[in-house]
Amino acid sequence: AAQQFTMKISSPSVSDITTEWMRLMKAGVEGRSGGRVKVEGYPANQLGQLPRAVEGVALGTIEVTISAIGFYVGLEPRFEALEVPGLFDDIRHGLRVLADLETKKVLSTLGASKGIEPMWLGIQAPISVVSHKPVRTLADIRGQKLRTPGPTPIHMEPLRRLGASPLSMGLGEALPAMQNRTIDGALATINIFSVFKYFDVAKSVTHMPQAFLVFAGMANRAWLKSLGPELEAIVREEAAKAESVNMAFGLADLDRATKTWETNGGVFHVISPAESVRYVEEVRVAVAPILAKQPRVKEDYDALLAIAKRLR
């Protein structure tokens, strides 16, 4: 059959879980639709930097974009519920929560008024801090100038409470800023630290307790509808199938990134269980007034927390 629709998928990174997902979608959707839906993958921000790609999905110039959940918050504040630390115990637990049918019900309405819909959710890695001065205890964070993975209060306030000076900057600028010690460290994931060779600049990485980088593949709702019932069902089913990359590829990718860090002389420090509990408590206190101001986010967060408890 002749091509009737194009599905452009945009991702900020190259050769990682997102490109693997694109590959699966291309094989699945093109195969089952008999070529009526053509799938084109655009890694490395080829279709534009993240804020624009997100708008692109909202307005339909791009059909699907993949990004850390934080980039959707400016469009749909409710996504912030997924950014609060303390929801998941570990990645496997988090993936179980995200794959749960009840979670999908909660999330399916997110972004509806903005014309977008989460089609695929995953967890890249724990959020870690890479720093010149090793972070072994919460006290080590005090006084450090740290790049945060997002500019919103959810990212800033917990660090501020621990006595750090959080500031937001792009990933491209964080590395040179760390090298010349404009900042003392940066929060992101080990995948990012390994890919960008942060080990050239600093060796210490510490995973923050119960904090994870959740990302989403977001689709344009109107485009999904425009496919017609048959093709829409194919795309949705293939997206659900492609979710298998979370376990099959994502965890292996995380292992690879961890090994890359270690073989290049990098080290991991671990925060003790007692300190971890205290960290989650501090985060709760810091985040409570922020959630109080956003009842919808609080509602989503509470619902997700209940599911997380059930699946522990």
């Binding site: 190259v14 050769s15 084109e40 490395a44 279709l47 534009g48 307005l59 339909g60 491209g172 600028e173």
Partner: protein, 427 residues
């Protein structure tokens, strides 16, 4: 589609339409008549290209240059270099190269170097009897060293797009940048000898000391900027803004040359210049985006791979493609468009992506002054009021030097990689 994105822009360009209008026409025709993409893509990409923090370095470096040019800061910097190299025949030309290299270590945007250095050196070289063609060619091309010597905006963008470490790229750029400066200086001296211009004067220790003394505040600029960057006081983009404050402070309070009104006027000029340059970057971004979604770069790359060439031929072909692209696109669009596609090809061929980053940067540096147009040519026209035909003819010998350097850098990876290995050992 090739009509919209190929024929239309070339015809309009030759008819002398404003460049932003040429690009805008091409992308609008493509979007309206050939493509099934929501028209929102037009605004989205025009806006998205400018909504970039790192681009602030452009007006900041321009403004700092504007202030230094209006006051005597740049002049004093030039006097200092001149007092040092004055005994050489062709010393003014060598000074232009030397000052540009120093400036390159402060600035990450080539246009600022052309504007600032050009404003001081152009009248001086004219007075000393250098042919207009030679001066125009030197000043227009020499600023391109700036993006090869760190800091460099294109290297930051390449690092982002190709997922390579920016500090490694910076370290890799030092030797190629200095090598280019040396080659240019040698040519300048040869040219001056052959044409009997710019006779040297005996080195005068007293004059050197006095030039150093008069230039202390001017010489402070590189120290403040470099010291600030490497000492961890500010990031590269911020450094450009700090340079403005320093230049304003020195010209207003130390040398007392500029009034507040002058400082404001310089800011107005900067805003206008920013409008001239960024409107092109903005429209070029839509053009690049349309090439991408029509899978043009991807097709070129798969064609490249299918040829299964040996590495030397692959690199040569890529160089030719990049030079061609550099004739029409600004460096930022070119990097964003091509590096995600070319880097995997290059990696698969066993070529170091950092080495490739330098090859890429040097190509784009050449594109900055390679006819028919480039940012440096624009600046030479609009700020220095040089005639286009004069620039075109003057550029040729310098183009040859840059191309020779490009070949050396392409085929001798160590020119780039020695610096990286040194950095890693130092760590």
């Amino acid at each position: 589609m090739s009509f919209a994105l190929g024929v239309v822009p070339i015809v309009l360009l030759l008819l002398g339409f404003p460049i932003y209008l040429v690009l805008l026409t091409a992308v609008s025709v493509a979007l309206v008549f050939y493509m099934n993409i929501p028209l929102a893509a037009l605004h989205q990409n025009m806006f998205g290209a400018i909504d970039v923090y790192a681009l602030l370095a452009i007006p900041y470096f321009i403004y700092a240059g504007e202030l230094m040019g209006r006051g005597s800061v740049a002049q004093r910097l030039v006097d200092f270099v001149q007092a040092g190299v004055g005994s050489v025949r062709g010393s003014l030309g060598v000074t232009t190269v030397g000052t540009s290299a120093i400036f390159g270590a402060i600035s990450g945007a080539s246009v600022a170097t052309v504007a600032t250095i050009g404003r001081v050196m152009l009248p001086a070289m004219r007075k000393a009897g250098y042919p207009e063609k030679f001066t125009a060619g030197l000043i227009t091309s020499v600023g391109a060293i700036d993006i090869i010597i760190p800091p460099s905006i294109p290297m930051i963008i390449y690092g982002m797009a190709a997922e390579q470490s920016v500090p490694r790229l910076y370290a890799a750029g030092v030797i190629p940048g200095l090598m280019l400066a040396t080659m240019l200086a040698v040519y300048v001296i040869w040219f001056a000898r052959r044409n009997g211009i710019g006779a040297g004067e005996a080195f005068d220790g007293k004059r050197f000391l006095s030039a150093t003394g008069r230039g202390v505040w001017a010489l402070g600029a590189p120290f403040i900027i470099l010291g600030g960057i490497y000492g961890g006081v500010f990031a590269p983009t911020e450094a450009a803004g700090v340079a403005c404050v320093y230049a304003a402070f020195v010209t207003r309070f130390v040398y007392r040359e500029l009034s507040w009104r002058d400082i404001m006027r310089a800011a107005g000029t900067t805003a206008i210049f920013t409008g001239q340059v960024l409107i092109i970057v903005s429209c070029a971004a839509v053009f690049a985006w349309l090439l991408t979604v029509n899978q043009v770069p991807a097709t070129v790359v798969s064609w490249l791979q299918a040829l299964a060439m040996p590495n030397w031929a692959l690199l040569l072909t890529i160089n030719v493609i990049l030079l061609a692209i550099g004739c029409f696109l600004d460096p930022l669009s070119a990097i964003l468009l091509l590096s995600p596609l070319l880097v995997p090809v290059v990696k698969a061929a066993g070529i170091d992506p950092i080495h490739f980053g330098i090859i890429f940067t040097v190509n784009l540096a050449i594109g900055l002054f390679h006819p028919p147009f480039g940012m440096n040519i624009f600046v030479a026209q609009s700020v220095l009021k040089l005639e286009l035909p004069v620039i075109y003819r003057g550029i040729l010998p310098f183009l040859v030097i840059y191309l020779v350097a490009l070949m050396l850098i392409t085929y001798i990876p160590d020119i780039s990689l020695v610096g990286v290995n040194w950095l890693l050992r130092a760590n």
